[in-house]
C-alpha cells in the first residue's frame, strides 16, 4: 500500500504529474504555471520535467486560455487549465458557458471536450478583492458542465485523475485555504465515482451537508456538538453538479434534519437547490425545515471582515441548534 500523508496542494501536484505521465495528450495551461509553478505552486516542477510544450505559460488572458484549450481539445488534446483565482474566471465565463458547456450537445455528441478548468476558490486567506469568491453556483447552473470540489488530499488526488479522464468539461474548484491541510493519500486504492458524496462523519440526529473548504468546519462543528450529546452526520458532497441527492436523502431519512453549509452567498446558492430537492424527496421524514448557512448577499468583504462573512464554527452550531429546536 502506498499510503502517504501529504497536503492537498501536494496531492494535486502529484495527480497532475501522474496525468502528464500517463497520457501524452494531457496539457497544463495557465498564467504562471510554468517556471513559477503557479501562485500556489500546484504545478511546481511540472514544466521542468515535462517541458514547455506540455506545461504552457500563457498570455494573461482568461478567455484566451479557455478558448484555445477548446481548440486543443478539438484537436485531440486534454488540457487542464488554471484560472489563477476565482474572481478572475469571469473574462473566461463566456467561453466556458457559451462554448465549452454546449459544444458536445450542439454537435449531437460528435465533439467531446475533455477540458478541466482548475479554479482556486473561496476565502479565509486574507486576500484582496476578487481573490476569495465562491462562484460555483454560476457554473453548476449551466448544463454541460460538471462542477466538483475536493475537501481532502485523497479526494484532491483522485478527483483530479477522474476529471482529467472525463470526456466532459469539469470545473474543478480547489479550496485554497485548505491547500496546506495534510491528510492521508492512498495512491493505489481508487475511490468511488466523481459525483458520489461521502459520509465524512456518521451521526444520527442531524445531517450537515458541505463541500470543499466547509467540510472541515462542519467536522469541527460535529465534534463540538458531540460534546453536548448531539450526534451530527457530515456529508461531503464532493460534486456540486451533478449532486448526489440519493446520498443526501439516505442521510436525511436517517436523521430527519438537514443543514447545508457553504461559503457562497445563500441567495440562489447550492443550498437552495439541495433544500428544495430534499424537501420534495423527504417531506415526511423532515423534523425541521432545511436550513442554510453561507455568505451574505453582499460583495465579498475586505479581509478584516471575512471572518464575519464566512460561516464559522459558531454559525454552523447555531443552525444545528435551531434545527434541533423544532
Amino acid at each position: 500500500m502506498a499510503v502517504e500523508k501529504m497536503s492537498i496542494a501536494k496531492a494535486l501536484n502529484e495527480s497532475l504529474r501522474k496525468a502528464l505521465e500517463t497520457d501524452p495528450k494531457v496539457l497544463i495551461m495557465g498564467e504562471d504555471v510554468g517556471k513559477l509553478g503557479g501562485v500556489f505552486r500546484i504545478t511546481d516542477g511540472l514544466q521542468k520535467d515535462f517541458g514547455e510544450d506540455r506545461v504552457i505559460d500563457t498570455p494573461l488572458a482568461e478567455s484566451g486560455i479557455v478558448g484555445t484549450a477548446i481548440g486543443l481539445a478539438l484537436r485531440g488534446y486534454r488540457p487542464v487549465v488554471e484560472i489563477q483565482f476565482d474572481g478572475f474566471v469571469f473574462p473566461a465565463y463566456d467561453q466556458i458557458v457559451t462554448q465549452l458547456a454546449k459544444m458536445h450537445a450542439r454537435s449531437l455528441g460528435k465533439i467531446k471536450l475533455p477540458v478541466v478548468v482548475r479554479i482556486p476558490y473561496g476565502g479565509g486567506i486574507g486576500a484582496v478583492e476578487h481573490h476569495s469568491e465562491s462562484p460555483e453556483a454560476l457554473f453548476a447552473h449551466v448544463a454541460g458542465l460538471k462542477v466538483v470540489s475536493p475537501s481532502n488530499a485523497s479526494d484532491a488526488y483522485w478527483m483530479m485523475q477522474q476529471a482529467v479522464q472525463s470526456d466532459d468539461p469539469i470545473i474543478f474548484f480547489e479550496p485554497k485555504r485548505r491547500y496546506w491541510d495534510k491528510g492521508e493519500l492512498d495512491t493505489e486504492s481508487i475511490p468511488g465515482p466523481l459525483h458520489k458524496a461521502a459520509v465524512a462523519r456518521a451521526g444520527s440526529d442531524l445531517t450537515l451537508v458541505a463541500y470543499g473548504p466547509m467540510v472541515k468546519v462542519c467536522l469541527e462543528a460535529a465534534a463540538a456538538a458531540q460534546e453536548e450529546g448531539k450526534s451530527v452526520e457530515v456529508l461531503d458532497l464532493r460534486s456540486m453538479s451533478p449532486i448526489d441527492f440519493d446520498a443526501v436523502q439516505t442521510s436525511v431519512e436517517k436523521t430527519g434534519r438537514l443543514v447545508v453549509v457553504h461559503e457562497a452567498p445563500v441567495f440562489y446558492g447550492s443550498g437552495a437547490e439541495i433544500a428544495a430537492r430534499i424537501t420534495e424527496r423527504c417531506f415526511y421524514h423532515l423534523e425541521a425545515p432545511v436550513l442554510r448557512v453561507g455568505g451574505y448577499h453582499a460583495p465579498y468583504p475586505p479581509a478584516r471582515l471575512e471572518d464575519e462573512y464566512l460561516p464559522g464554527l459558531d454559525r454552523v452550531l447555531d443552525a444545528v441548534d435551531r434545527s434541533l429546536a423544532y
Binding site: T68, G71, R75, G76, T98, Q99, H104, S107, G144, S241
Partner: protein
C-alpha cells in the same frame, strides 16, 4: 477611455488640428494596399506579390461555385420568407471572398466558420441542406465537423477565432503541416476574443489564417463604429502580417489565402486577411437595411458584383460558352428544388432529444429529468390523446 476624451485633454497645438469628434475616414477599398487580380470590369491585372495561373476549367469551377452558392442562398432566403426557416443569414455579395478562400484550402486544413460561411461549407463538401437545420430549428448544426474539417457554425461572434488558434497550436504540436482558417466579420474584430486570438497565435506562432470578411456592416453598425484604422493594419501591432484583398475578386481571394496558408504551413505563423467586400442583403432576415444605409451604397457595390465580373472575364476571354452557362442555370434550378424539398422533408426532432448529449459521460440529474419528461409525455398517450 474614449478617443474623444483623450483628445479633449490635450492642449491645443494648432488651430488646424482635426476635430476629435470626427472619426478618421475609413480608407476606401481601393488603391495600392488592396490586392486585386480581376477588376470590376472583368479585366485581369497583375499584382507583384500574388500571382495566380488557373486553367479555364478551374476558372469555370470558381464561377460555378459562386453561382450555386448564390442560388442556394437565394433559396434559403425565400424559404425564410415562406415560413420554412426561422431565420437566415444571407451571404449575398460575399461569394468571391468565401469561394476564393474556401478553394485555397487543402482537405486536411480545418475551418472555423461564423454562421454565414455557406460558400466555404460548399467548398468543404458539406451538403448545403445540412446548413439549414439550425435555421429551421431542428438542430444546432447537422454535420459532423470532423468529416469535412468544417467546424459547426458559431453564433457568439469571435469565439471561434480562439478555437481555431488552439486547434492550430495542436496542429503545430502534432508536427502536422496543415493549416487552420478562422472566419469572422468586421463587427467581431471589436471583440476581445479576436484580440486574444491574435495574441495567442502570434505568441505560439500558430499556423492559423484569420479571414475577416469586412462586409462594411455589423447589423446596423458601420465599420467606422468598430475601428479607427483599416482592419488589416491591426495585425501589425500583434506582430504578423495583415493583407487587404478585394473581397469581390475571387482570384485575388484565392491567391492571397493560398499564400497565407502556405506561410502558416512553413511555420511562419498567423496572417490576417481582410477581404474588403459588401453584404448586399440584410444581416439576417430579421433586420431591415433600408433603415440604416442608403440605396446608392448598395448600387455602387452591385457594380462590383463578384459573379458578374468573373462572367465578363470568362466571356471576353472565351473561356466558357453558352452551353456552359445554360447547363449551370439548369444545375442551379435543380439545386434550389433539392434544397426546398429537403427543408420541407426535415423530420421533427425526437422530443427526448432535449436530453441527448448534454453530457458525454452521463449525468444522474439528466437521467432523472429525462425519465420524468418521458413519463409525462407517456401520460397523454395513456389518456388516449
Amino acid at each position: 477611455m474614449t478617443v474623444e476624451s483623450t483628445a479633449a485633454r490635450k492642449p491645443r497645438r494648432s488651430s488646424k488640428r482635426t476635430s476629435a469628434k470626427t472619426p478618421a475616414k475609413t480608407p476606401e477599398g481601393s488603391g495600392p494596399q488592396l490586392v486585386q487580380l480581376l477588376t470590376p470590369e472583368g479585366e485581369r491585372v497583375e499584382h507583384p506579390d500574388f500571382e495566380i495561373d488557373l486553367s479555364a476549367e478551374e476558372l469555370r469551377g470558381l464561377y460555378r461555385d459562386m453561382v450555386l452558392t448564390r442560388r442556394f442562398d437565394a433559396e434559403a432566403t425565400a424559404l425564410q420568407r415562406q415560413g420554412e426557416l426561422g431565420l437566415w443569414a444571407s451571404l449575398l455579395g460575399q461569394e468571391a471572398a468565401q469561394i476564393g478562400s474556401g478553394r485555397a484550402l487543402r482537405d486536411d486544413d480545418y475551418v472555423f466558420p461564423t454562421y454565414r460561411e455557406h460558400g466555404v461549407a460548399w467548398c468543404r463538401g458539406v451538403d448545403p441542406t445540412n446548413l439549414l437545420g439550425m435555421f429551421r430549428g431542428v438542430n444546432h448544426g447537422g454535420w459532423d465537423p470532423n468529416t469535412n474539417n468544417f467546424h459547426l457554425y458559431t453564433i457568439v461572434i469571435g469565439s471561434q477565432t480562439l478555437h481555431a488558434t488552439g486547434y492550430a497550436m495542436g496542429v503545430a504540436k502534432d508536427g502536422a503541416d496543415s493549416a487552420v482558417i478562422a472566419y469572422f466579420g468586421d463587427g467581431a474584430s471589436s471583440q476581445g476574443d479576436v484580440a486574444e486570438a491574435f495574441t495567442f497565435s502570434a505568441v505560439y506562432n500558430a499556423p492559423v489564417v484569420f479571414f475577416c470578411q469586412n462586409n462594411q456592416w455589423a447589423i446596423s453598425e458601420p465599420t467606422e463604429k468598430q475601428t479607427r484604422v483599416p482592419l488589416y493594419q491591426r495585425a501589425q501591432g500583434f506582430g504578423f502580417p495583415g493583407i487587404r484583398v478585394d473581397g469581390n475578386d475571387v482570384l485575388a481571394c484565392l491567391a492571397v489565402t493560398r499564400s497565407a496558408l502556405e506561410r502558416a504551413r512553413r511555420g511562419e505563423g498567423p496572417t490576417l486577411v481582410e477581404a474588403f467586400t459588401y453584404r448586399m442583403g440584410a444581416h439576417t432576415t430579421s433586420d431591415d437595411p433600408t433603415k440604416y444605409r442608403a440605396d446608392e451604397e448598395r448600387a455602387a457595390w452591385e457594380a462590383k458584383d463578384p459573379i458578374l465580373r468573373l462572367r465578363t472575364y470568362l466571356e471576353k476571354q472565351e473561356l466558357a460558352d453558352a452551353a456552359f452557362f445554360t447547363a449551370l442555370e439548369e444545375e442551379s434550378e435543380a439545386l434550389g428544388k433539392r434544397v426546398r424539398e429537403a427543408v420541407r422533408a426535415m423530420p421533427e426532432p425526437d422530443r427526448l432529444a432535449i436530453f441527448d448529449h448534454a453530457y458525454a459521460d452521463g449525468n444522474p440529474l439528466v437521467d432523472e429529468e429525462r425519465a420524468q419528461f418521458a413519463a409525462y409525455q407517456a401520460s397523454f398517450a395513456e389518456e388516449g390523446n
